[in-house]
Structure formats: C-alpha cells, structure tokens
C-alpha cells in the first residue's frame, strides 16, 4: 500500500506541475454546452419534458463525453513511464504489480470524480441546471460509478495495447462512439432503434440514464441504484480483467 500511495502522490504531483490538459478539458465543454442548449431543450420538450431548458441534457452529456477523454489520461500516464525510462525503476522497486496498477488507477478515479463535479457545478451555474427535486447524493453515486468504470476500462485497454497511439485511438473513438450511442450527444430517444438497442453496452448509457433520472425526473438514490450498480459491477469485472491482463514486464512504446 505504501508503494501505491507513493505512486498516487507522484501522479498528483505531475498533474499539479502540468495541469493544462485538465484545464483544456474543463474549458472545452463549457464552450460547447451553450451552443447546444437551445437545440437540446427543444428535443427534450419533444420528448415530453415540457419545462426542460436543455441544460438537463447538455451538461451531463458533455460531462460524460469529455469524461471519457479525461479517463484516457490514466493510460497515457502509464505509457509515459516507459517514455521517461522510469518504468523499470518502478518495477525494480518493492512495489507489486497490483500496487502499480492501484497507484495509477486510484488517483485518476479521484481526479475524474473531481472533474465531473467541477463541470456539473460550472455548467450548472452557467446554464441554470437545477436538481428540481433530484438527489445530490444520487449525482455523487453516478459520478463515482462512471469515473470508476471509465478508468477501469482504460486500464484494461492500456494493459492490453502495446503503443500509446493505440490507447489514444481507443480513447478518441471510444469517447465519440460511446458518447453517441449512450445518449450523451443527443437524447437517447432521438437515436435510431438499432442504436437504442445496443446502447446499454456502453458506460455512457448508464451514466446518462442516471443523470436523466436525477435532473428530469427528480430521481433519488433509489432511482439510480440500477445504473449505479451496473457501472460499479462492470468496473469490478473490468478491473479484475485488467489486473489479470496487466504484465509489468511487457514492453510498451511511448512516442519516444
């Protein structure tokens, strides 16, 4: 645990020294949200939510979409160690493979939760998103579930892929594909039938389902239990697979 904690602090220190990726990932959705708010408002009214402003779709949608991009950072941080030639030093230390994986994964779950909450707060203030009877605790559950699921998924991908370019491709395509299918770009009911049918295979779908329940249907903790359980269950399975797949002695290629 000492080694995992040391690596956790290392990740946070590196991020503090170079926070610009997160700053950009925070600013970009704040630019996009107002552009689509009115359109999303009309879509929601069409779907039967007569008092919707559009913030109920566009704020969680952009959080979920950009949250996937941010989650990709955990893969990047793992590969970066190979580029910096520090990976062998970590491996030669007393840290076990599980400690290494935990040291990279856990801080990024915390960062991801913080990122989502900051974006909900800023986007909510800017676009007038209100709970309207929905539960803040339920929101915390959904944010945690989504963060855990995305980070686990990226760790599995990073464990399986050989180059950082492959991880980057998955991060970009995954964000757009999962976001589109999961209802983060437009409300789910606006998607074609085939897309709606396969949407539940994506973490974005379950995250958006929880967020809609909270912001459009005044959902409480009990209303988000199913999506929360699905996200956490998937996280558990994916983390297990990542731990099984993770081979510390595997050669990974960074850009260098």
């Amino acid at each position: 645990m000492t080694a995992a904690w040391a690596i956790t602090k290392l990740q946070l220190r590196i991020l503090r020294n170079d926070p610009w990726f997160l700053v950009i990932m925070f600013g970009m959705p704040l630019v996009v949200m107002p552009l689509f708010q009115a359109t999303m408002g009309l879509s929601l009214v069409d779907s039967g939510f007569s008092s919707a402003s559009g913030a109920e779709q566009v704020v969680p949608g952009q959080v979920v979409l950009f949250g996937f991009f941010v989650g990709g950072s955990v893969g990047f941080s793992l590969f970066r160690e190979h580029g910096w030639r520090t990976w062998d030093r970590l491996r030669a230390s007393a840290a076990s493979s599980k400690s290494l994986l935990a040291g990279f994964g856990v801080p990024w779950i915390v960062i991801h939760v913080g990122y989502q909450l900051a974006l909900f707060t800023a986007g909510g203030l800017a676009l007038g998103l209100r709970f309207n009877g929905g539960s803040p605790i339920a929101l915390l559950m959904m944010v945690l579930g989504y963060a855990t699921c995305v980070i686990s998924l990226i760790l599995l991908v990073a464990s399986s892929f050989r180059t950082v370019n492959q991880v980057s491709a998955f991060q970009n395509v995954g964000a757009m594909a999962f976001g589109g299918l999961g209802g983060a770009l437009v409300p789910l009911e606006q998607l074609p039938g085939w897309a709606q049918a396969i949407a539940p295979i994506t973490p974005s779908y379950w995250a958006m389902r929880g967020h809609r329940s909270i912001f459009l249907e005044s959902g409480g903790v009990g209303d988000v239990l199913l999506p929360f359980a699905v996200l956490m269950g998937a996280s558990f399975v994916i983390s297990f697979a990542a731990a099984r797949r993770f081979r510390a002695d595997e050669t990974k290629e960074f850009f260098a």
Binding site: T2, A3, W5, A6, I7, K9, L10, R13, I14, N17, D18, W84, R85, T86, W87, D88, R89, L90, R91, A92, S93, A94, A95, S96, D249
Partner: protein, 313 residues
C-alpha cells in the same frame, strides 16, 4: 550478499546467459566487464527482478529473489543504463519518491535524500527541476535514485556513459564510499580506467558465460599476454612471418594489427624485411586489464559483437 548460480536466459533461439554464476560480498565492488551483448544487462535485470531467468537461483543474503521478490527488491538498488528520472519533478522530489516507494517514512527519506545528494554533489540542485539539469547532473540524479533507500546491493549499469569528468569522479567516489559502508556493488562499464580507479574485482562475461573472475592483480598475473600492436600502410607483407593463426594475428581496425607472440620489435622489423617504411607505429602490449580481457575473450572490450548477441542482451 549476492549468490547467483546457474543463470540461464534465452530470447527465442539466442542464449543471452548460459549458466552464469556470480557472487558479490558486502563491501565488495565487482566490475562486470563484457562487450555489448555479452549478457551484462540481462544478468543485472535478473538479479533486480526485471527479468525471470529460465534457470538458476538468486540469493540476496537469506532472501530468495525468485520466491520473495518484494523482500529482495528492498535490498537492491539499480540504476539502469538509460537515464530514468521524472523531469517534471525537482531533484528532491525524485529522490524522496524513490525512497517512499521503498517504504521509507518521511523523516527517513528526507534525511536519505540529503545524504545521497551530498554524496553525488547534488545538494545545491535539490530544488531544481530535473528537466533543467545538465546531462551530467541528470546522470548523477539517476544514480542517486538507486542509492536513496540505502540498498545492500547496488547495481550500476554503465553509470558514466556520456558523463563529464566531474560526474565520473563523483560517481566513482560515491561507489567507493558506499562499499566502505558495507554495500555490495556491481558496476558495468567499458572504461577500464574507472575499474582501476575503483579498485574493483573483475568478472569477465562473454557470450552469456562468466569466463574469468578475480582481483585485478590475480587476473593480470593469470592471463598475462605478450605481444605487439602495429599500424601499417597497405596490406601485410608476404612471407612466413605473418602467416599465423587468426587468434594470434588480428586486424583490429583497418591497417592496425595485434600480434600475440613472445616476440619483440626487432623480430617484427625483421618480418617486414625491406618493407619497414610501410610501418607507421608499433607498441608493446603491457599486461593490464585490457590485455587480460583480450586474453580471456579474444576480443577487445570495445570490439563490436555480432548482431545476434547484441539483440539478445
């Protein structure tokens, strides 16, 4: 401190190590000498747990490195060949991170970071970002990171490659100091003057096998060779004098030859006959580490190996 026996490791069809043994005691500095691709890095990687051997055992004191890898890792410090430091962190943060990674608490790692920085001349640079260090300073930090948890076995893989004179001397002094404090040290290098400066015992490795081991005087006495090195303009003269086996007369670079025989310069000049004007230079090979290496392996330390063994290691 280290007792490694029967090390074997293959990469595909290429045997990087073929049954190597190595023993290093507390307070002993062992220079591991071998050409590129001889198996030095593979051997260090196995001892440090970075590679699993196909066969053999590694004991660090009473700890079996194969069955107790985490315990073993706490006893070992390794500075790999490539510089590996966190350029976005300060020198102090780098040192303290590697201390913490090995389980040191805050006061221990702060004290150790200061001590190690002092040993390697990094004290004035402790708060500088590692990315702003010069090449030599970065190399010293790279080495310091391997020392910070006060390992009982320190392994430095070509620590002075690309380093300036100051850095070399500081690293050599630090190694001597650590050995005097009781650490066992394995040091690989291609610079034989460093080995002499360290007063290190020698292990010569070639093609994945340990060919010779001992103190410097022992090996020089055991493997003393006599011969000449000469440079000529054009091809070797004809005649029986130069008609010798390939391991006796070797062209070590274009126009430069090594002749291993119990002869002196006058014999060589007689061999040239009336073509002595083509002789550019002649020197007598003195018995030293270079001639020991030559006698043991048949190659100079800086000779290029064949491609296969290079890739293997």
């Amino acid at each position: 401190m280290l007792r490694a026996t029967g090390f074997a490791k293959s990469f595909g069809d290429v045997a990087a190590l073929a049954g190597a043994d190595l023993e290093v005691n507390a307070g002993q500095v062992v220079a591991l000498l071998g050409r590129n691709g001889a198996g030095k890095t593979t051997l260090l990687s196995i001892v440090s747990g970075l590679l699993q051997p196909d066969a053999g055992s590694v004991m660090l004191g009473d700890v079996d490195a194969r069955t107790q890898p985490e315990e073993a890792a706490k006893l070992v410090g390794i500075a790999p060949q490539d510089t590996g430091i966190y350029t976005v962190l300060s020198v102090r943060q780098n040192l303290e991170f590697f201390g913490e990674l090995s389980g040191m608490n805050r006061p221990q790692r702060e004290q150790s970071a200061n001590d190690v920085a002092e040993k390697l001349g990094l004290t004035p640079l402790l708060d500088r970002r590692a990315g702003q260090l010069s090449g030599g300073e970065a190399r010293r930090l790279h080495t310091a990171c391997a020392l910070v948890h006060t390992p009982q076995l320190l392994m430095l893989d070509e620590p002075t490659v690309g380093a300036d004179v100051t850095t070399r001397l500081q690293i050599i002094d630090a190694v001597k100091e650590l050995a005097a404090e009781g650490a066992a040290v394995i040091y690989t290098t291609h610079y034989l003057p460093e080995v002499e400066a360290l007063g290190a015992d020698i292990v010569i490795i070639d093609d994945g096998r340990v060919l010779a081991a001992g103190t410097q005087p022992e090996l020089i006495a055991r493997h003393e060779i006599r011969g000449l090195r000469f440079e000529i303009d054009g091809p070797l003269p004809g005649g029986t004098f130069f008609d010798r086996p390939a391991d006796e007369l070797v062209e070590i670079s274009p126009g430069t030859y090594r002749l291993l025989d119990n002869i002196d310069m006058s014999d060589l000049l007689a061999g040239f006959g009336d073509e002595t004007d083509r002789l550019i230079s002649v020197e007598t090979l003195k018995p030293d580490l270079e001639t020991v290496f030559l006698a043991v392996t048949g190659n100079r330390l800086d000779d290029e190996p064949d491609v296969e063994s290079e890739e293997a290691a």
